[in-house]
């Protein structure tokens, strides 16, 4: 968990020359970018720019054709998904994917980083530590009242929060969120921004988002992707005024 320290001020995540091609189509093409510890980076870009694919590659859902992904000095491209999770990378999907048949409590409990082997899951006990961790996270994600409810009964926004909570309880070093406020009401959006601000105090966060207002609210730096490549990178004001970005993404 102290990846940053052991790395002596190095990047937490270093993506270099990352390429993936699907039947010759390069969804991500020789992409490089670097994340500092505790940084909040937002990836923006038009549809089909390869944003989600980048997250897929980092978390192991898609295997890279070439290039390297170094996380806290560890090469991720050869690891399996669950091993990548254990190295400290958490991923939230675009559509909320929570366990609808289980209660909110159970959803968080299943995500608790203990008892991940078959034997471990048989021996797993719901002790005070687990309950405390679950209650803690539930508070952060505004779901304390709903702990005993089946996740199926939650609203869309609450499901998104629950999934973020399921990541938080894993205590990852890097959180990757794919459009966390998509489909949310204005009130929910505000609460989510608040939630992200809390989270970003002690996590490195990589977010894909379209809502420029929201991006401006949370981002330390912004990476603009276009056709699988980095088009521009820098502060929100820098990319906003970049003519290339205006051309392909923001519009005149």
């Amino acid at each position: 968990m102290s990846a940053a320290k052991s790395n002596k001020g190095d990047f937490l995540l270093a993506v270099e020359g990352l390429t993936v091609s699907f039947d010759g189509f390069k969804a991500v093409d020789d992409l490089s970018f670097y994340l500092d510890p505790k940084e909040i980076r937002v990836i923006i870009g038009p549809n089909g720019a390869g944003k989600t694919t980048v997250l897929d590659l980092i978390c192991g859902k898609t295997k890279a054709t070439s290039g390297s992904i170094k996380f806290a000095g560890k090469e991720l491209t050869r690891l399996k998904e669950h091993q990548i999770v254990h190295s400290g990378v958490g991923r939230k999907f675009q559509t909320p994917s929570v366990f609808e048949d289980l209660t909110v409590f159970e959803n968080l409990e299943v995500s608790y980083p203990k008892g991940h082997t078959v034997i471990g899951a048989l021996a797993f006990k719901r002790d005070a530590k687990v309950i405390e961790a679950v209650e803690d996270v539930a508070k952060t994600i505004f779901l304390t009242e709903a702990l005993n409810e089946p996740a199926a009964l939650l609203s869309h926004g609450q499901k998104q929060w629950l999934e973020i909570g399921m990541l938080l309880i894993q205590k990852p070093d890097l959180l990757m969120l794919d459009e966390p406020v998509a489909g949310m009401s204005v009130a929910e959006r505000k609460k989510t921004a608040e939630l992200l601000r809390v989270i970003t105090k002690d996590h490195t966060v990589l977010v894909i988002e379209h809502d420029m207002q929201f991006v401006g609210d949370i981002a330390d730096r912004v990476t603009v992707m276009h056709q699988g490549k980095v088009l521009s990178e820098g502060s929100i004001d820098h990319v906003k005024s970049d003519p290339k970005v205006i051309e392909v993404y923001l519009g005149h």
Binding site: V98, L102, E106, H116, A121, M166
Partner: protein, 395 residues
């Protein structure tokens, strides 16, 4: 202080369900049925082992296997091999050209016992093999399929193909397996004649005992975190993977568990029926097993037992009066289950009988009734106070 947790559990609603089943199987049926019928019930119950495994594997974890007959058969054949060797003493087979080997081997011009038959002289090896052989095969299939992420329909088809392959293999290798006739004329188990009414009665009770052991094992698994992961995996496999679980390992585990149950069922089948043949393990038999599970209720291990009992009883009843109509009745039953009550008998019980029970239980105020009843909370058999339910006061 006076009530141990076990006593409390028996007084709980879930405990009542188990007691009711125990009463039915241990007291009621043995009292009202003649030995021949009771033996048939025992035979039906051996299928319940498979159905319980299918609840775990298919109902909970979403892995549909259309080849559970394979594991049932392997368990059954292991037991049959032991019994056959015991029946084939040199004295009993003196008229054969090679005395001391099973009769069908002699008919097929074999002159010595094949190597893989040798260990089945030992009863302890046989008991191990009854579980070990099915589990080993399930493990190999599991590794091959689940680590490559073969699932859903593809997996179902492959298991079905394995059932077909095994049947063809057994029928083809007549000299080693007894071929299409199976392994017949089994007589004694360690000198104890298993063909008498008395022996069959005792075997029936052993079968019921084993069934409860398997029920408790399944119940243990489903009430642990592992059970919740199986359910979670069924709906959101990707989320489970990205919560840090090696999904393949869990699938292999539950598939092996189902195979172990099926193997035990198969061995008891051989003991109760007195022979084992390929017809009990092929494609048709395997699909019937899925129907027992579906009718009882995919998500309920107790439902699976009732499903196996009822479908088999209906099958016997039908076949005695209208043998040619049974396949149609069975087909209709399956379609009916899928269309009208997808959660089977357990689902019907939950939606129609449980509300009545709730009223009674409330009046007795013996326990709290859950406020929210989830339609598909696959973690328990209906209501189960032994399951850990979260309450804030605990902390």
């Amino acid at each position: 202080m006076k009530h141990s947790p076990l006593m409390k559990w028996f007084a709980s609603r879930e405990g009542m369900y188990y007691l009711a089943l125990a009463f039915l199987l241990v007291v009621l049926l043995p009292l009202v049925l003649e030995p021949f019928r009771l033996n048939m019930v025992g035979k039906y119950l051996t299928y319940a082992f498979v159905a319980i495994g299918l609840v775990m594997c298919w109902g909970k974890a979403g892995i549909l296997s259309l080849g559970q007959g394979v594991f049932f058969g392997l368990g059954g054949y292991c037991m049959a091999m032991f019994l056959k060797l015991e029946a084939s003493t040199p004295e009993a087979t003196a008229i054969q050209s090679t005395p001391g080997i099973p009769d069908f081997m002699d008919w097929n011009q074999l002159t010595e016992l094949p190597w893989f038959w040798e260990p089945f002289h030992s009863f302890s090896f046989t008991l191990l093999a009854v579980i070990g052989v099915p589990v080993l095969l399930a493990f190999v299939i599991g590794i091959a399929m689940f680590t490559r992420r073969v699932g859903g329909v593809y997996f179902a088809i492959i298991t079905q193909a394995i059932a077909a392959v095994l049947t063809i293999l057994i029928i083809g290798q007549q000299g080693y397996t007894g071929g299409v006739n199976g392994i017949t004329d089994l007589q004694t188990l360690m000198g104890w004649d298993i063909r008498t009414d008395e022996a069959r009665n005792i075997l029936y009770f052993i079968c019921v005992g084993m069934l409860f052991l398997c029920l408790f094992a399944a119940r243990f698994v489903q009430n642990r975190k592992l059970g919740r992961i199986l359910v979670a995996m069924n709906a959101q496999e990707m989320r489970v993977r990205f919560s840090g679980y090696d999904v393949a390992a869990f699938k292999i585990f539950v598939f092996c568990l189902a195979a172990a149950f099926a193997g035990i069922g198969g061995a008891l089948f051989t003991l109760l029926v007195g022979f084992m043949s390929p017809s009990f393990i092929g494609i048709v038999a395997s699909i019937e097993m899925v129907i027992f599970c579906a009718l009882g209720g995919r998500l309920s291990i107790l439902g699976a037992v009732y499903g196996a009992l009822l479908v088999n009883a209906a099958k016997s009843g039908f076949s005695e009066s209208f043998p040619e109509l049974w396949p149609f009745a069975m087909g209709a039953l399956f379609i009916g289950v899928v269309l009208a009550f997808p959660d089977g008998l357990a689902g019907l019980y939950k939606s129609y009988v449980m509300p009545l029970e709730n009223k009674v239980f409330k009046r007795n105020k013996s326990e709290a009734v859950p406020a929210v009843s989830t339609p598909a909370a696959g973690t328990t058999d209906g209501y189960s106070p032994m399951t850990e339910t979260y309450s804030p006061e605990k902390s």
